[in-house]
Symmetry: C2
Subunit: 376 residues, 2 copies
């Protein structure tokens, strides 16, 4: 059972090695870095494996919200993202029947397990958003819901007897669906002229489809409270050139309006983050996606896609759309970061404001409405 | 770039597969488990890799305290544990000069990196403990130090503007060193008889070395506030039989006195934990160890050991002592758990008491003494 030290260091033939005097450790305030290979393997890196085991046992929460006008394929996209029926979908196209009179908030919970890791996924849908004749302030119920989840978490956190793991209902990610037909700037231009050229003409600098005022309004208000990822829905209606132009225009408009989406520049932690995220911010965003939960056979393989007379659109084929990029981004590279930015930035901002408003004290016995919490 | 679905499922030859109607998701309150293989790989388990990357970037804190009479090799053992000079050691054996008049608390910080993972290690030494003529209440400064760290953490936690990562100075693990010569029960028996047989004779049930009253007193008071791991120091003074008997006696005495050491039974989270920890509680504890930072050549390999005229004691050889068991336990299997039990149990207990004493409100502007924080 004798455990030897690394062979590479065995160059002396003596049977007894008097250890060299080592420098005394420095004063505690300035930790000294140690060459851990000094006397062999310790096992510090096993912490990763220990954390993995803990995560496998407990699982984790992930709450994703979808916002956008009806008909943009929000439910289908989320189902495609998690490759399962996690979001309810209107069963027919009778829209009058389906669209609620006001914005509703509907949360559906699922447990998805993969590779032994359990994700407690909640999909929060917002039917009715942008579907009214007057859509003024229709982002308000959404902001209210998001803040209610922060409030719930805060209350659990300041409790004297706390739960070991505070249930996390906070929205970690908000997919905002932009219409591929956007909003005709030419039409706006016409309306603007017909009003006698009064009011702002900021949004009229380019022609072609662009963001609607509601899009800008929503993102302006919500980007400070939640991680927003804008996506261009139903991107199969655009040619490559149209898509590229549209994406550029959206990025430009968001920039001009000072709207920061996720991943926010200011939260990059190091150069590696910055390099990776700059690429996403400057090239990928907003992801132009196509969703589908229908399977087709292409070259002997089953793929998720949409069949048209002119060919099958494969949703996971990067030559066809950017769904795979979005999936990799939200699930495979930034999922943990979405959770951490929610906790460290958005929740902290809410908490600080709440405590400040309360004279530094935590909130007590102010009951939040639970009505938006679940499906009625 | 077309990404196919798992080959094993491709059994139909149709070029178009109409998806089967799937059951509607259930109501949100009861999440539905989903067979994630339904439409291919999602990537949920990549969260582990994402967490690994984050940990590699940030590193982690680990704070270990050593308590026990001088001369038991506390510093040497910690140096052996981390294979580096992380703990200061008296340079000579002039004990009179070295032993402080009261218990002192000395913290030394180091950064040890292994496999790309950075551990910010703090070793907290307690010179003077048990070295006085009257050792009454000499556990008090130690308890005070431990609580001060909880207080510091609590203050950071209730701050309005919080740090993204609260610096963690809380003691995650306390190695308590039991003398291998213990305390002669025969002598106590004699003293007890000479007192006319008055007072408790609880500890006199067995003969041979055993825990001293101070050992019991310390563990009784501190086991509720910190994770205590008892170790039998300088175990090379014992034969296999003596060691086995001593260990059994110590376990018995702790049990009789209702002292729970780490890992505490009540915090086992599942059967796997229980099985693993029962073995440690019933067989390994207290680890009978030998420490050394001297290297010797044994069978062509360099080992850490102690040379005697009758042979070399190899500290990592399980036939010689239980150092490797202790190292595996503290570093390779339970390090994350030591941190979590400190946070979820000991810190929570402190916090709840503090808030209750304060009428449910967090503590404000009560400055803790910082004097014990570092080396003077």
């Amino acid at each position: 059972m004798s455990k030897g030290l690394p062979e590479t260091r065995t160059d002396a033939a003596m049977s007894e090695l008097v250890p060299e005097p080592r420098p005394k450790p420095a004063v505690p305030m300035k930790p000294v870095s140690i060459n851990s290979n000094l006397l062999g393997y310790i096992g510090i890196d096993t912490i990763i494996e220990q954390m993995r085991k803990k995560t496998m046992k407990t699982g984790f929460d992930f709450n994703i919200m979808v916002v956008g006008q009806s008909g943009l394929g929000k439910s289908t996209l989320v189902n495609t993202l998690f490759k399962s029926q996690v979001s309810r979908k209107a069963s027919s196209w009778n829209r009058e029947e389906k669209i609620p009179k006001t914005v509703e908030i509907k949360a559906i919970g699922h447990v998805i397990e993969e590779g032994g890791v359990k994700m407690k996924l909640t999909v929060i849908d917002t039917p009715g958003f942008g579907d009214q004749i007057n859509n003024e302030n229709c982002w308000e119920p959404i902001e209210k819901y998001i803040n209610e989840q922060y409030e719930k978490f805060l209350k659990e956190e300041v409790n004297i007897a706390r739960k070991k793991r505070i249930p996390d209902t906070r929205v970690h990610c908000c997919l905002y669906f932009i219409s591929p037909t956007g909003h005709s700037v030419a039409l706006e231009w016409w309306q603007w002229l017909s009003r006698g050229g009064q009011g702002s003409s900021d949004a009229l600098t380019s022609l072609g489809p662009s963001l609607r005022p509601l899009d800008l309004e929503f993102m302006k208000h919500l980007s400070k409270v939640v991680n927003i990822i804008p996506v261009i829905a139903k991107a199969d209606t655009m040619t490559l050139e149209e898509k590229s132009e549209f994406k550029q225009r959206v990025r430009k408009e968001l920039e001009v309006n000072g709207i920061e989406f996720y991943p926010q520049k200011e939260f990059d932690e190091d150069l590696e983050d910055k390099t990776e995220n700059d690429k996403i911010r400057q090239e990928s965003m907003p992801f132009a996606v196509v969703g589908s939960d229908k399977e087709y056979q292409v070259n002997g393989k089953r793929v998720l896609g949409r069949k048209t007379p002119w060919g099958i659109i494969e949703v996971e084929n990067l030559n066809h759309c950017e769904f795979a990029l979005l999936r990799d981004f939200v699930i495979r590279t930034h999922l943990q970061d979405l959770k951490e930015v929610t906790h460290n930035i958005h929740y902290e901002t809410y908490r600080a404001k709440r405590l400040n408003d309360n004279g530094g004290l935590p909130p007590v016995s102010v009951d939040t409405e639970e009505s938006h919490d679940s499906n009625p």
